[in-house]
Symmetry: C2
Subunit: 219 residues, 2 copies
DNA sequence: CAATTTCCGTACCGTACGGTACGGTTCGGG
DNA sequence: CCCGAACCGTACCGTACGGTACGGAAATTG
């Protein structure tokens, strides 16, 4: 173990190119299309190098998840002072970002891959995907609603429970439906508004309606 | 096409036994464990019979979904007159049933299977799973909340949207987490209560708290 | 420039899958 | 009782995968 944990592995540029090709193959053709031979051909490298760099197939899959996660850094700017309008805007932005991320090609492909493997490998990939892909966005949301509580705009006992409520209101069963092949929503922004309205009805401290606030803030 | 639609295929008893074995193999070992040879061995039938009965592998998977769906008939008793207590109880019962179904071994295995195939076969299995496995429970819930509205106990514009809200409050991201290999909840009933409380806060017409109602009804 | 390491492309190996073919057996109808 | 259909068990075929081995090219190092 090295002192600087959390950002240790990180691959060489050449390896990143290979991982990018691997993701492309996975997105285009699913798990069956991601073969060692196929990846070597597509990325113009040798199978021998693949096994030297990533160990075996599972190591390659794990590397793909880590690589993808390293591309989605979520910024946390919690500097500004919150008011009701700002909180609502940040919540809606989070909701739209979440819906967009979940509907992304690569996200869906990786989730399908991990789910497909999750009952024969002891769900190692599943754990990895949840930790790498989810922790970032979870922390952003919890930090936001915690700030809302400190500013007296939200009321709840358990931040984690409140966050799960928010998540459920935003996503409902959409994620699973998309994983099963259904198309996404026509209007993510509308869904984000509705979800945040409901969330503020449940946990907000002010009685103003979403409509009124949106009218007041000029959209 | 035969006149009696909706319950046409239905397999012979022998075939149902084979399908049951197929589900067992799938639950125990995932998709990789469900091979034609393995199934023939486990079910004491010949591969030739499998191909005669189900066509090919995909036909077998579809038959497994249909077979499983045929076992989960949901009863609709909408006779009795609704009041606030009764509505809440029915909503909580629905929530508990939903959580229990989603956490079931066979349900998780079939969902994993369909999701794993959904980006290489045009999501045919995904459609099938959503239609067979979901329509029943969706209709039960929508009938319930529609009855709630007719009884003046619920208020909403779009029953479908309200149902999706209820679903999100009950399930949140739990289904995906379980598909990825995480264990389920410790207490489904508690989660069901919380979700129904929130749903009634959003769409109920009466201001009584869940706590008060539960105390009044003696649990 | 020479030595050494890294890498590529290909060929190869064992295995296991989906699907087919076939001989022997069971079983129900005439 | 006999015939045909359905079925079982097994053997077989072509294919494609994960993983390894090897010879030669390219790049790195001193």
């Amino acid at each position: 173990m090295i002192a600087e944990a959390g950002r240790m592995p990180e691959f060489s540029p050449r390896q990143n190119v290979v991982l990018e090709q691997a993701l492309r193959l996975l997105v285009e053709g699913g798990e069956k299309a991601l073969t060692t031979s196929g990846l070597a051909r597509a990325a113009h490298c040798s199978k021998e190098s693949l096994y030297k760099w990533f160990g075996d197939r599972e190591g390659l899959l794990a590397a793909m998840i880590a690589h993808q996660a390293s591309k989605v850094r979520t910024f946390e700017r919690s500097g500004e002072r919150l008011n009701a309008v700002l909180l609502r805007e940040h919540l809606e932005l989070f909701a739209r970002d979440l819906l967009e991320v979940l509907a992304g090609d690569v996200s869906l492909a990786l989730n399908r891959l991990a789910i497909g493997q999750s009952n024969r490998d002891g769900s190692k990939l599943g754990k990895l995907l949840l930790e790498h892909g989810r922790r970032q966005i979870d922390r952003r949301a919890i930090a936001l609603i915690d700030a809302g509580k400190r500013a007296g705009l939200l009321r709840f006992d358990d931040a984690d429970a409140a966050y799960h409520t928010l998540y459920g209101l935003i996503v409902s069963d959409l994620h699973v439906r998309m994983l099963l092949g259904e198309p996404g929503l026509k209007d993510n922004a509308r869904q984000a508004q509705k979800a945040v309205d409901a969330f503020l009805t449940l946990h907000g401290t002010q009685k103003d309606s979403g409509e009124a606030l949106r009218a007041a803030s000029g959209r």
